[in-house]
Structures are given as C-alpha cells and as structure tokens.
C-alpha cells in the first residue's frame, strides 16, 4: 500500500495543512478584534475600559457569576452522577435522558422559561407567599441569574462526571470494599480521585461558558445583572463604540483563555496532583468517617444524595413544564393562566409564516453544519490520533476546542469583522461557516473519543481478509464508529440549530433562523407566544430522546446476542 522510504512526509504534510487552515480560521477573528481595539492611538480604548469603575464592576460580577455557577454545578453534579450510577440500568438510562434532554431543547426557550419562573407571578413567589414572604421574586437578582445559569449548565457537568465513572472504577470500588475500606473511604479515596478528570474538566467548561454568558443575564437579569458579554454587545450595537467593544472583548478572551490554557498544560502534572488529592481525601475521610460510616450517618448521606439528585431533576426539568402551561395563557402576559385556557398563541404561531420559514432555514443550515463538522472533525481527530503524530495532537485539540473556549460574544464580534471583509455577512454560507466552527468543537470531541477506542488493526484485518478499501471502510470502520459519528452529527446539528449569539451579529436581513425569530419574540414581544414553539421543540426532543433510548436499548440487546453468538462459535 504505501512502502517507500518516507511514508510520513506527505502524511504529516496533509495533517499540518489541515491544522494550519483551522488555526487561521480560529485566529482571524481574534486578530481582527486585536486590530480594532488598537485602532485608536496609545491604547486609548484599553485605557478607557481600565479607567471605568463600572466596567471593572461588570468584570468582577461576570467572574463572580462564573465562579458560583461552576462551583454549585459541580457540588450538585457529583452526587447526582453517583446516584445515577447506583440505579438499575433501565432507570439509569431513563433518568440520564431526563437530565440530558433539556439540553436538546432550545437554549433561548429555556432562558425564556426562567423569566416566567423567577417572575412575580412565578412558582417561587407563589410558594413564598404561602409562607408569608411578600416579595420573593428573584427576577433581576444575582441569585436568580445564578440559578438559571445552573439550570443551563448542570446537564453538562453531570455528563462530564458521569462519563468518567466506568467499569474499571466499579471494579476498584469493589476491590476497596473487599480490602475493608469503609463507604466513606471508598468515596473519598477511590471515587473522588478517579473522578477528578471529569470534575476538573466539567468545572473548567462550565466556568468558561458562564464567563461568556449573554442570554441568561440579558433576559433574566432584569437589566440589573450585567455581564461582560452584554457590555460588548451594547457597545458594538447600541453605542457604536467599536474600538471600546473590541478592547473589552480582547480583555475578556485573555482573562478566560489564559487560565484555561494554564489548566490545559497543567495536566502533565496530573500524577502529582492526584497524590495530593489522595492525601487530602484521606484526611477528609478520617475526619468524617465516624459520621458517615455509622448506620444513621450513611443513611442520611444517601438520603442527601438522593435529595440533591431529585433537586437537580427538578431544576432541570421544572421550568420547561411551567412553560408548557404558560402557552395556554389567554392574555399577552408571562403568567400561569388563572381562568380559562386559550389556544390563542398556537393559532398566532401557526398562522405566522415567519415561524415556518425560520424553521426551514434553521434545518437547512444545521444539516449542512452537521455534515461539514463531522467530516472536518473526523479528519482532525484522525490527524491528532495518528501514531507518530504526537506533535500535532496538542495544537489540533487546542484549535478545535478554541471556538468553544473563547467567549461567544467576543468570537462573534471577531467573526463579524472577518466576514465583513470577505463579504460573507448576511449570507447563509457565512452562517454555515461560522456555525461549523462552533460545531467542530463538539464533533471533534465525540469523534476523537470514538476513534481513540477504535482499533486500527481491524482495518488491517478486514483488508487481509479480502475486503477492498471501500468495503472495509463501510462495513468495519463506519459501522463501528457509527455511534460516535451519530453523536457528533447530532451535537453539531444542535449546536447550529440553537446558535444565537454569533447569528445575532453575523446573519443579516436575509437569513432568518429560528433562534433569531425566537430572539425577536423574546426581546420585543415578551408574551406566551414563544412558549408555543418552545412546547413544540420540547415535545420533539422528548420524542427523539425516547426513540434514541429504545434504539440504544435494542442496540445493546443486539450487541449482547452478538457477543453470545461469537462466544459460542469460538
């Protein structure tokens, strides 16, 4: 097949070329921001930002929001993931889907639901009134924004922790038990240290995403909770002060990406940290072993864990149920219908062609993005996993994950400037490229995980056994990688279907996507109308969840039967 004295040269060239193209795509928006922020002489824009006490407050508030969100998410996610793991298979899959499904539902719709939930007529206020509290409305409070933000990111943290719990960890836990470790010791000395990668990774991602938060504070913050992303948007679109906006974007990117990069390189010191964590865990275990290992103590702890688990389910799914009820409100106000139910808003949405058109545009764009992201993500993952290509691996991962790590609004503003030069602004092509870059982060992660588990010798085996290259690819590689490819496509599709921040700046008058239509509805027409498409999307994602759940179940059954058959034949 290859032979030759230098088989590696053209291969590493193609990998390097791909890396270079992707790196240019990611770097261009950042360079644009940098150039724009330096447009005025003597760093005037930066000095104006640094001199403003209000903007310093905004930066502090943004990082406060990110910190509390990341911390709370992780505190909630660890017990939730471990409770999930203790459940019987059927329940585990069902509840995992219940936690994950809301992530498939539109981000904007979920944010919108929180306006209603936190509001004066919302359930929190209602419960408060029963206990005699007059004003428990969390609308426009820091706590309200944190809660809504936790709702958005909790599924992600649970999944991050959940996926590191695997069969090997279960085995270790069993061994620890056999060797006489108490439950508390098992938890603190085996469980937590093994989950550290998931916990750290999840916390980092949640922190990065909340540091760039735009939608939640903009819609739930009641104008009182302002984040940096909002300020970038306000300066760029309302005050038309582009240099200052770019300077803020550059500063936010620097403040967010530098710690992330530091974490990324710190992973080489993983062993040392694990030792440290072990020692700390040992101390904690000794301190709490007395309580936790007594019969009452352990029962109380498991009750607490189940309580947290139930609370998480409630926080994740509750607002969506509330939104469904609101869609039947007869008046144009975001509150539960008190008297009769009305289908007024359903009629309004179904008679409005802009909704239908917007769904068509979004489906078209998201499908294209799904294909592009999967193909490019596959190539990038293959390059980074290539034996002997270790040098490309780090940069490739960094480049592919950058669009997710860079705060969305900063990236959007930078992309906007680049597209301006390339005349891609307001075109579907431009939007597809922009969305593909964001989706690439997801597809790369899924495909890299899939490819890392894939045994390349299977290809060799197929070829040796007489399959042609195409047949070997289709029947072996593609089939075995199908779950990873499917997941990558779905994630990319959803990333595009749900994208609003980049779309807000990059899509012009002609490209009207569904999130853009929803944004108009959410900002200019706060009423139950948006609850209708929200309900529709929710029903659809529940349907998809149930369908894929039963599909995975049949797939595992098939796999089990297949395994059994193979065992018998061998």
């Amino acid at each position: 097949m290859s032979g030759g004295a230098h088989p590696r040269l053209p291969q590493s060239l193609s990998g390097a070329a791909l890396l270079a193209v992707l790196a240019c795509l990611v770097a261009a928006p950042l360079l644009f921001l940098l150039k724009l922020s330096l447009a005025e002489p003597h760093f005037a824009a930066y000095r104006a930002v640094l001199a403003s006490q209000s903007l310093q407050t905004v930066f502090a508030q943004t990082f406060k929001l990110a910190f509390w969100t990341a911390l709370t998410c992780m505190i909630l996610a660890v017990p939730t993931a471990s409770v999930l793991h203790g459940l019987p298979t059927r329940w585990r899959i069902a509840l995992l889907w219940l936690i994950v499904t809301p992530s498939f539902t539109s981000y904007l719709v979920r944010t919108f639901a929180w306006i209603a939930v936190l509001g004066r007529t919302g359930p929190i206020q209602f419960v408060g009134a029963l206990f005699g509290y007059e004003d428990l409305s969390l609308q426009g409070t820091f706590l309200g924004v944190v809660i809504a933000n936790i709702h958005m990111l909790l599924p992600l943290s649970v999944v991050c922790v959940y996926i590191v719990i695997d069969a090997a960890l279960k085995l270790q836990l069993r061994s620890a038990a056999v060797l006489g470790a108490t439950p508390s010791l098992r938890f603190t000395a085996v469980y937590i240290p093994n989950m550290m990668p998931g916990i750290l990774g999840g916390t980092t991602v949640v922190f990065l995403l909340s540091a760039g938060a735009f939608l939640v504070p903009a819609l739930v913050g009641g104008g009182r909770q302002t984040t940096v992303a909002q300020v970038i948007y306000i300066f760029a679109t309302e005050l038309l002060d582009f240099a200052r906006s770019a300077a803020i974007a550059v500063m936010l990117t620097g403040l967010v990406v530098i710690p992330a990069l530091a974490l990324f390189f710190m992973r080489s010191a993983k062993v040392a940290r694990r030792d440290g964590a072990l020692r700390a865990a040992w101390l904690v275990a000794r301190a709490f072993a007395f309580v936790a290992d007594s019969r009452i103590g352990s029962r109380m702890i498991s009750i607490c864990a189940y309580g947290i688990f139930a609370f998480c389910l409630f926080v994740i799914a509750g607002p969506l149920v509330y939104l469904v009820l609101i869609s039947f409100q007869p008046l144009p106000v975001l509150a539960l219908p008190t008297g009769e139910l009305s289908l007024r808003w359903y009629k309004a949405v179904f008679s409005d062609p802009t909704w239908i058109e917007a769904i068509g545009v979004s489906l078209r764009i998201a499908t294209a993005v799904g294909f592009i992201a999967v193909l490019v993500g596959y190539a990038a993952a293959a390059v980074s996993l290539r034996p002997g290509g270790a040098r490309l691996q780090g940069p490739m991962t960094a480049v592919c994950l950058a669009p997710m790590a860079i705060p969305g609004m900063a990236f959007a503003f930078g992309l906007y400037g680049v597209f301006l030069k390339l005349h891609l602004l307001g075109t579907e092509a431009g939007l597809i490229i922009a969305h593909s870059m964001v989706a690439l982060s997801f597809s790369y992660v899924y495909l890299r995980a899939g490819l890392a588990r894939y045994d390349p010798w299977l290809d060799v085996a197929a070829r040796v056994l007489g399959a042609g290259p195409v047949r070997a690819f289709l029947t072996i590689r593609l089939r075995l990688l199908a779950p990873a490819i499917g997941a990558a496509f779905l994630a990319s599709f959803l990333a595009s279907f749900d994208e609003i921040i980049i779309t807000l700046l990059v899509a012009g008058a002609d490209v009207r996507t569904l999130p853009l239509r929803m944004w108009t509805s959410a900002t200019q027409d706060i009423g139950p109308e948006l609850a209708v498409p929200g309900t529709m999307i929710m029903l659809l994602s529940v349907f998809v969840a149930i369908a894929s759940m039963s599909m995975t179940e049949t797939a595992t059954d098939d796999r089990r039967q297949l395994d059994r058959k193979e065992l018998r034949t061998s």
């Binding site: 002060d241 592009i372 588990r453 807000l504 700046l505 027409d525 009423g527």
Partner: protein, 396 residues
C-alpha cells in the same frame, strides 16, 4: 506481516466499543507502542489505512462544503433582487401591526415585494460602518436616535420627505431636515393594576414612601428618563435644556437608593413587568401601555407630566430601492393607514385631520397645557455621551 500475527494482534475477546473502555484504551496504547516501535511495513499499513480515510473524509468535506457554499450563495442572491424593498423596524405587537396594516396591503397594491426585518437596530451601526446594505428604510425609530445616525452619516436625505409631511398638514415644527416624522408617543407615568391610583408627577414617582413598590426604567436609552429625573428633582419644565446631566444622575441615584429599580429591556418587557406586578410603577411608553390595556392587561397610565417625543422614518445611505422606500412611506402616511396603525399600536399621528379616531385619541398624550416635548436637537448631539454614562450608571 503474516495473517496469523495480524489476527493474534487483535483481541477478539474484547470487541471494541464494549463497556470496558479502560481496557480498550490500554489495548490501543499497546498497539500504538507496537506500531511506533516497528519501523516497517506494519506501521505503514496501519497508518495508511487511517490516513487514507482521513484524507478521503477531508476531500469529501471540502467538496461538500464548496457545493453547499455555491448553493447558498445562489439562493441568497436570488432572495434580494433590485425590486425588493427591505424595511427595518421593531418586532413585537408593533411589528405585527405594521405587517398587517401597512406591508401586506402595500405589497398587494403596488406589487413591490417588501421584506420586514424586525431586528432593529442591532446591526445598523456595523452595516453602515462597512458600507453594507442592511435595509432601504427604517421606520418607527425614536427621532433622537435617527438624528444621531444622521450625524454619523448613516442616512441620506430626500426632499420628498418634506412634501409628504406637508401633504398631511403636519405642523411645521415636525417638518425636519433629516428623516420623516411620522407619529408621536410619550414617556408616561405607568402603574400596575387597572384602577391604580397613580402618582401625577415625576416627583411622586421618586417618592417611594408615599408610593411604595419597585420601579422600572428603560435600559435601552437615557432619553426621557433624564428629563423625568430632573423634573422629579424640581427643575421647571421650561428650563430643562440643556440637561444638567450630573444633577439627573444624582436624582436617579436617589431613586435607586430608596427602592428596587429594574431596567426593562424593551417595551414588551416594561409591559410584562407592570402586568405581572414585578414592578409597581414604570416610566412607560404611552403607546405600549395603551396596546397592553387594549389587550386586557391590568395596567394603567396617566398623561400628567408626560414627555412627548416623535418617531420617524429614515432612508439608509446604502439604500438600493429609494423610490420603493418613498412609495412605502407615502402609503404609510395615508390617513386611513395612519389611523389603522394608531388603533393597533397607540402611536399617534401628527397630522391634524387624523386625530379623529377616538381610540387613537384616547391613546395619545392629551395636547394641552401640561405637554412637555423632548428636545431632539439636544438628543441628536448628546445621545452618545449621555448614553455612555447611562450604561455605566446602570451597571454600577
């Protein structure tokens, strides 16, 4: 390598993709070290299979991407032909009314295909700075905002504006060099509840002891609210301009110290907060409150000390279809169309013979001794500097 060694390298008892991920990973690492250690044909065959597919995938991706780009470029170009008119404006109930009573009949009568872009006005600045086409005409925008765009050279003037204004008999003070004034509304004292006993002056709105409860201001622009703050602080209506900005912010500080202050993101947000009782009083837009009352919401407003201001239409510098835009504005200025808009949105026409419809009259700020009008010259010049301070004050 031989068939046997190849088979033995594969661990058949461990199908890939099974639950034992750690084991599988370890296996893979083992293979990789094997591969890395053997600089011969084994390596080449294993790598080249991966690479072959990676290259195939990349190639297919590029071809597919190129096809997609070409297809979308074609559809995008066909979407906006020269005859198409793009109107920029706000969405919500206002946008729906414009679509129903202006755009649909206008398209029917003239055959000019009209697209209504209801995302005003996030992309205006960026599009104009880049000399790009965004829309032909903007409607329903605050006159002060229109002026600040004009100062930045985003707009083009047209003498036909004055003709249109004079045709409907508009008082000469509203016939301006830039843009076309179409209607008016007012910043009014608004409250939660239908039969609310409302404060009748801004000073009372600032008095949280007599009138307790959260207030809402409007985040989007300081205009109207600076005036209200100064009136609340005891400045006489005749000596408002030029605004004493420091005094206004001091007055706002006082309000914020005495009670909870929310910031409405839009007219809809303002109405929703009032209707749900999230706030007790608001600096409201008369037209939005009117439309809310018309929809049966439990809110109310008073015209006492209302601060009147105009909404206008303007032509963008990069407009492609100027004649179409003018035809559109002429259609919008027809008496029956303005009356229909007034009935749906509460925006009051400024042409005297059109003040007749009772509902529009009820919606409109009463003309009379108490009318205070925003100074558009002041706001045209100071919108950005005051706007900057306003943003800083909000996030403080």
């Amino acid at each position: 390598m031989s068939f046997r060694s190849c088979v033995s390298a594969l661990d058949f008892s461990q199908p890939p993709g099974s639950v034992d991920a750690v084991r599988a990973n370890a296996d893979l690492d083992e293979h990789r070290t094997m591969i890395a250690d053997r600089p011969n044909a084994d390596q080449a065959s294993a790598c080249s299979v991966i690479l072959h597919h990676a290259r195939l995938a990349a190639l297919a991706g590029l071809v597919f991407g190129a096809l997609m780009l070409a297809a979308t470029q074609l559809t995008a170009q066909s979407a906006t032909s020269d005859r198409t008119l793009v109107v920029l404006g706000f969405g919500g109930s206002y946008g729906q009314a414009i679509k129903d009573v202006v755009i649909a009949p206008f398209e029917r009568q003239t055959g000019i295909k009209t697209i209504y872009n209801e995302t005003c006005c996030a992309s205006v600045g960026s599009a104009m700075e880049a000399d790009q086409f965004l829309a032909d005409v903007v409607i329903g925008i605050d006159y002060g905002g229109l002026l600040s765009w004009a100062n930045r050279n985003y707009l083009r003037s047209d003498e036909r504006f004055a003709t249109l204004a004079k045709e409907c008999g508009m008082p000469s003070q509203f016939v301006r060099p830039v843009g076309l004034v179409t209607q008016e509304y007012a910043y009014v004292i608004a409250g939660h509840g239908r039969d609310q006993h409302l404060p009748i002056s801004w000073a009372q709105i600032w008095d949280a002891k007599t009138f307790p409860g959260p207030r809402s201001l409007n985040r989007i622009s300081p205009s109207g609210q600076m005036e209200a703050a100064l009136l609340a602080d005891g400045v006489a209506p005749d000596s408002l301009y030029p605004l004493d900005i420091d005094r206004a912010f001091a007055s706002l500080d006082r309000l914020r110290k005495s009670t909870k202050v929310m910031f409405a993101q839009s007219g809809a947000d303002q109405v929703n907060m009032l209707a749900t009782g999230a706030v007790e009083y608001a600096i409201g837009y008369s037209n939005r409150i009117y439309a809310g009352i018309r929809d049966g919401l439990p809110i109310s407003y008073t015209l006492d000390q209302g601060l009147h201001t105009e909404v206008a239409a303007g032509l963008f510098r990069t407009a492609r279809n100027v004649d179409g835009a003018l035809a559109f504005l002429a259609y919008q200025m027809r008496p029956e169309v303005l009356s229909a808009i007034a009935e749906r949105t509460g925006l009051r026409p400024l042409c005297p013979q059109m003040l007749k419809p009772p509902e529009a009259g009820a919606a409109s700020p009463a003309t009379g001794g108490k009318e205070i009008r925003l100074n558009f010259e002041y706001w045209g010049q100071n919108r950005e500097s005051v706007g900057n301070r306003w943003v800083e004050w909000i996030v403080k």
